[in-house]
């Protein structure tokens, strides 16, 4: 099948390749720094996927939250653990068939169950403006926003408790 080379399809192939590639590195690499960098690349491709789906604000939030927040946390954790486990930079895996079967089987099932319902060509959607987003988040979804904010706060407190609870 000869794909039609539009801007959209180029973006799709590129995103697919990079995201799958970086994910594979995360899963298979033996070097902990390579893992951290690939994870950052993966977070960025996810942001790219949001852009592909015309959700610019989500993409921005993804970059801020993950590439800027979670990734830094992961790096902290790596430093922390490497300090306690010095001299063992190599990440090991127990590559086993059952894990492969499970992973492939679940992915296959997801694809098969959605196969008939997803059209090949995606409809183009309008970019929502931040004003619209604010109207929704502060309008009908205000309770959700409040709940998530509370959750975030609880998470912050938990992190502090877990980290700071064991001060020697």
């Amino acid at each position: 099948m000869i794909a039609e080379f539009s801007a959209s399809s180029i973006a799709f192939w590129l995103l697919s390749a990079v995201s799958i590639g970086s994910a594979a590195v995360v899963v298979f690499t033996r070097d902990v720094m390579r893992l951290a960098i690939s994870l950052g690349v993966f977070f960025l491709t996810v942001a790219g996927w949001y852009l592909y789906f015309t959700h610019a604000f989500l993409a921005v939030a993804q970059v801020f939250l993950y590439a800027g927040g979670v990734l830094v946390l992961v790096l902290f954790a790596i430093m922390f653990l490497r300090r306690s486990k010095a001299g063992e930079p190599i990440l090991e895996s127990r590559h086993s068939t059952d894990s492969v079967v499970i992973a492939v089987g679940l992915g296959f099932l997801v694809v098969m169950s959605l196969r008939d319902r997803v059209p090949i060509a995606l409809p183009q959607q309008a970019f929502p403006t931040t004003t619209e987003l604010a109207d929704i988040l502060l309008g009908p979804m205000l309770p959700h926003l409040a709940a998530v904010s509370l959750l975030l706060l609880v998470a912050c407190v938990s992190v502090l408790v877990v980290f700071g609870g064991e001060r020697e």
Binding site: L15, S16, I20, A23, V26, V27, V32, L35, L39, F42, V46, W49, Y50, F53, T54, H55, L58, L65, Y66, G69, V70, L73, V74, A77, F80, L81, S84, K85, L91, E92, S93, R94, S96, I102, A103, L106, G107, V110, L114, V118, I120, L122, P123, Q125, F127, P128, L133, I136, M141, V148, S149, L151, L152, A155, S158, V159, V162, F163, G165, E166
Partner: protein, 106 residues
């Protein structure tokens, strides 16, 4: 070939990592892969008219829902990492085959 396949592959990769990685940091990174794949799938599917009788959700709502999901996943990741570090600090172990406390008494 569309995003469903890509997201499924990403999810499968993440799952494989969770099941096979021996280092807790790598396991957590794989969980992040799964979370990312799932969010991409959600946002992508939400824009499809064929999946709902109303002909697709409106973009603003999708964006708001996705945002909330992102925040929640990030909070979970933060707590997970904190727990991980705390476990490593208290037991000195960071490998999943060492952390068998569900069976053995610590």
């Amino acid at each position: 070939m569309n995003f469903v396949l890509v997201a499924s592959i990403l999810f499968g990769l993440g799952l494989y990592g969770v099941l096979s990685r021996r280092d807790v940091i790598a396991v957590l990174a794989s969980v992040e892969l799964m979370l990312g794949a799932a969010t991409v799938m959600l946002v992508g599917l939400a824009g499809l008219p064929s999946l709902s009788s109303q002909g697709g959700a409106d973009p603003g709502t999708i964006e708001a829902t996705g945002l909330l999901l992102l925040v929640m996943a990030a909070a979970a990741a933060a707590v997970g990492l904190a727990l991980l570090v705390a476990i490593a600090r208290s037991t000195g172990r960071t490998r999943t085959d060492e952390l068998t406390d569900v069976r053995d008494r610590p």
